[in-house]
């Protein structure tokens, strides 16, 4: 059995015991608690605080760890063997570039995304970050971002006004939440450094309204009232003196300048001294081949490179979308021993309303599949596979549809023991169910939010809690996803 995905792998290893082999293939030597990269990006945490070495953790769990990247899948095996295998290319020092075919009984594709900086000219090349902007998508990116931020703060201290542009770097981005956290953490840090008055801070995103967050917005119960996330977000942006551009597809980035197209078809440009623009996500580019060696990538993967699962990919127009379009078992429809979870599975369609400019440019957030839902999905998939191994081929699969799943999100808006803030939100269900909940498609009794210092404490506690869990320390299975 071969899997990827830390949550799925660790649970599978625990449930299966030593009688079966769990193999993890990942190109990284370290595990990264990505949500805290925001704090690394403003210099409030060190890289070492958000990462740890994978090898000792997997050794403790009895997991075979290969520091490599998957290149291709052969779900039918080869001409000489019926055993399916995956071809990996090692990235660890000393073996870099060498390849190996690893046979498997079950496989979980949890590769995460390719950070597709290359989709926007000037934002980067391929999955490599360019020179004009910064990123907080990886711990190394975040360290680089914090150094650039420090330079800007020094300039402001010398009386040089600086312009900050934070948001999404393409019309089809997801992860608005990360940019949301980063912009307010920057604002908080500039206040702390005493240079807030020297900074102009602007948000740019592909949302059609502020507070869409890639989930079509939400209406949350707060202090007994139902408040739209638009009102919530606009209030926060106004209160913190942050201006915004929405409905924007950033189509080109130059040194100190971003060009964009708006949903109304107009074009604009925004100058900056410091910019963090989230790239769009794509599949990592895995290829698939049949027994005869014919390319079957289009059968296994959607055009965006994410793996097809038990979703309804023929839902059609927005008005036809249903909660039941979303996958529940994450099993590949062609090969029943292949699963995908987290960002790696191909969603049937966006959650936000699909929109495009009069020029035909699609500008709408793509669906988020990170955080709490990805953890729950990974655990459910691991459970399904373990059941099939231990109970037999006909064991029912576990279900974890995002349309039946609630999620909690704690978005930092500034780090500090006594002056930190974070917005804590819950949303149920993640995917709106317009049949069950006419109107917004969500149950407002279970969709609520608050912002304040307590939220920050929760965020900070969660940081330690999840790293504890990921390191498989005592009681790790009791900590929820």
């Amino acid at each position: 059995m071969l899997v990827s995905g830390h949550t799925a792998a660790t649970f599978a290893a625990k449930w299966l015991g030593s009688a079966h082999e769990v193999v993890v293939v990942t190109p990284n030597a370290k595990w990264n608690w990505i949500p805290s990269n925001i704090w690394v990006g403003v210099g409030q945490m060190k890289k070492e605080e958000v990462t740890f070495d994978l090898a000792p953790v997997y050794a403790k769990a009895g997991i075979t760890y290969k520091q490599a990247k998957a290149v291709s899948l052969n779900p039918e095996g080869s001409a000489s063997s019926n055993k399916p295998f995956v071809t990996v290319e090692f990235t660890e020092a000393g073996k870099a570039g060498t390849t190996e075919n690893i046979e498997y009984d079950y496989i979980i594709n949890a590769t995460g995304p390719k950070l597709n900086f290359g989709a926007t000219p000037g934002l980067g090349v391929g999955s490599e970050l360019g020179e004009h902007t910064v990123s907080v998508c990886t711990a190394d990116h975040a360290v680089h971002a914090s150094h650039e931020l420090e330079k800007c703060i020094e300039k402001m201290k010398k009386g040089e006004r600086q312009k900050f542009l934070i948001g999404t770097g393409h019309g089809m981005c997801t992860c608005q939440g990360a940019a949301f956290e980063y912009i307010f953490n920057i604002e908080h840090e500039l206040n702390r450094a005493g240079v807030r008055d020297m900074a102009d801070i602007k948000w740019i995103s592909n949302e059609s309204f502020l507070g869409d967050f890639g989930v079509g917005g939400l209406h949350m119960k707060t202090m007994g009232y139902s408040v739209s996330s638009k009102i919530f977000a606009e209030s926060l942006f106004t209160e913190r003196g942050v201006d915004w551009i929405i409905g924007a597809h950033v189509n080109k980035v130059e040194s100190g300048k971003a060009h964009y197209e708006l949903l109304d078809g107009s074009m604009g440009e925004e100058e900056f001294n410091f910019s963090m623009l989230i790239p769009p996500f794509a599949g990592v580019g895995l290829k698939a081949f049949d027994k005869a060696g014919e390319d079957i990538t289009a059968t296994v993967f959607a055009p965006n490179g994410f793996m097809k699962v038990d979703a309804n990919y023929a839902a059609g127009a927005y008005e036809n979308w249903k909660a039941s379009d979303w996958p529940s078992t994450y099993q590949n429809p062609t090969y029943s021993n292949m699963f995908a979870c987290g960002i790696a599975f191909a969603p049937p369609h966006p959650i936000s309303k699909p929109m495009s400019s009069p020029n035909g440019t699609p500008i709408n957030p793509t669906p988020p599949r990170t955080g709490m839902p990805s953890g729950i999905i990974g655990k459910a998939v691991a459970h399904s596979i373990c059941d099939r191994i231990l109970k037999g081929e006909n064991a029912p699969l576990h279900e974890a549809s995002m349309a039946n799943m609630g999620a909690a999100c704690v978005a930092s808006a500034g780090k500090g023991l006594f002056n930190g803030t974070a917005a804590a939100m819950t949303i149920y269900p993640v995917i709106p169910d317009f049949e069950k909940y006419p109107g917004t498609g969500r149950d407002t009794d279970y969709t609520f939010g608050e912002i304040g210092l307590a939220g920050h404490w929760i965020k900070h506690i969660l940081h330690h809690l999840f790293i504890w869990k990921a390191k498989l320390k005592a009681g790790w299975t009791l900590i929820p996803e």
Binding site: F209, S226, K230, I246, S266, G268, M355
Partner: protein, 271 residues
């Protein structure tokens, strides 16, 4: 069909709007109802939210009597600021100075689901912004500055837009007169206590002093009564409570004086 417009203090029957997903007869019928309701109430626009529908629909009445149908409108870009006196059907007969964007660009869908964009400025821009606010469960109350919101809440309390242009202050110049009256009364009371232990000769002197001081208290209260009313005219937002306050203060002050002077007449006055 003409629908009833929800008005303050009745809370909106829905708390938020949701995008129109299916463009069908139900939606067309709702649009017709909005048109009828706008015409019947002589309004310049209406959001479906205001008649209790959760659909994200805004109708604007053009000057030529035709209607601009905005389904799922989104405010995409803005430029400049403008402050105008706004009214809305939800708060009938009330107005407030609201700052909004002068120029806006919106995207919306028509009744066939086709997407369009629209640029607006001035009064139309303000009207569209106000209606879009409703579609997200807001009203212009949420757009007011802190000061303007205080005034508007007063207007809501009195149900009138007339002459409520300031907040009732908590201190007045007339309070100095009240203070003077109280000090004089305390001196008279102190003289009464001291007089109980003095000789007849000294008590006579004290009684005379009390008499003169009581005239002072009387005059102070008369001046207070008229000046307070004059001063109150400058604060029209709190007229009703001021009159009661002035009368009460005067009566209390004179009652205290009368009681002390009656006691002094029998116990301090040696004759």
């Amino acid at each position: 069909m003409i629908q009833q417009i929800i008005k303050y203090p009745t809370p909106p029957s829905v708390q938020y709007s949701t995008d129109v997903r299916v463009f069908n007869e139900n939606i067309f019928s709702l649009i017709d109802d909005l048109k009828d309701t706008i015409n019947a109430n002589d309004l310049d626009g209406l959001a479906a939210f205001q008649i209790g529908s959760y659909y994200n629909i805004v109708l604007i009445k053009n000057q030529d009597g035709t209607f601009l149908e905005l389904l799922n409108p989104r405010l995409i870009s803005t430029n400049g600021k403008i402050t105008t006196k706004e009214t809305t059907a939800y708060f009938p007969n009330l107005s407030a100075d609201v700052q909004r964007h002068d120029k806006i660009s919106i995207v919306y869908q028509d009744r066939d689901g086709a997407q369009h964009s629209l640029q607006a400025e001035g009064a139309l821009s303000v009207l569209i912004q106000r209606k879009i606010d409703y579609t997200f469960g807001s009203s212009f109350l949420h757009k007011l500055s802190k000061e303007e919101k205080k005034i508007f809440e007063k207007k809501l309390e009195f149900g009138s837009d007339v002459a409520i242009s300031e907040v009732c202050p908590t201190t007045f110049k007339r309070d100095y007169l009240t203070k003077l009256s109280n000090i004089l009364t305390i001196i008279i009371a102190a003289a009464f206590v001291v007089g109980l232990f003095m000789s007849d000769e000294l008590r006579l002197s004290l009684w005379h002093a009390q008499l003169y001081l009581s005239y002072g208290v009387l005059v102070t209260n008369v001046v207070y009564f008229f000046y307070a009313q004059y001063e109150g005219r400058g604060y029209t937002s709190c007229t009703s409570c001021q009159i009661g306050n002035i009368l009460g203060t005067t009566v209390i002050s004179l009652t205290k004086l009368t009681l002390i002077m009656i006691l002094s007449y029998f116990l301090v006055n040696p004759f």
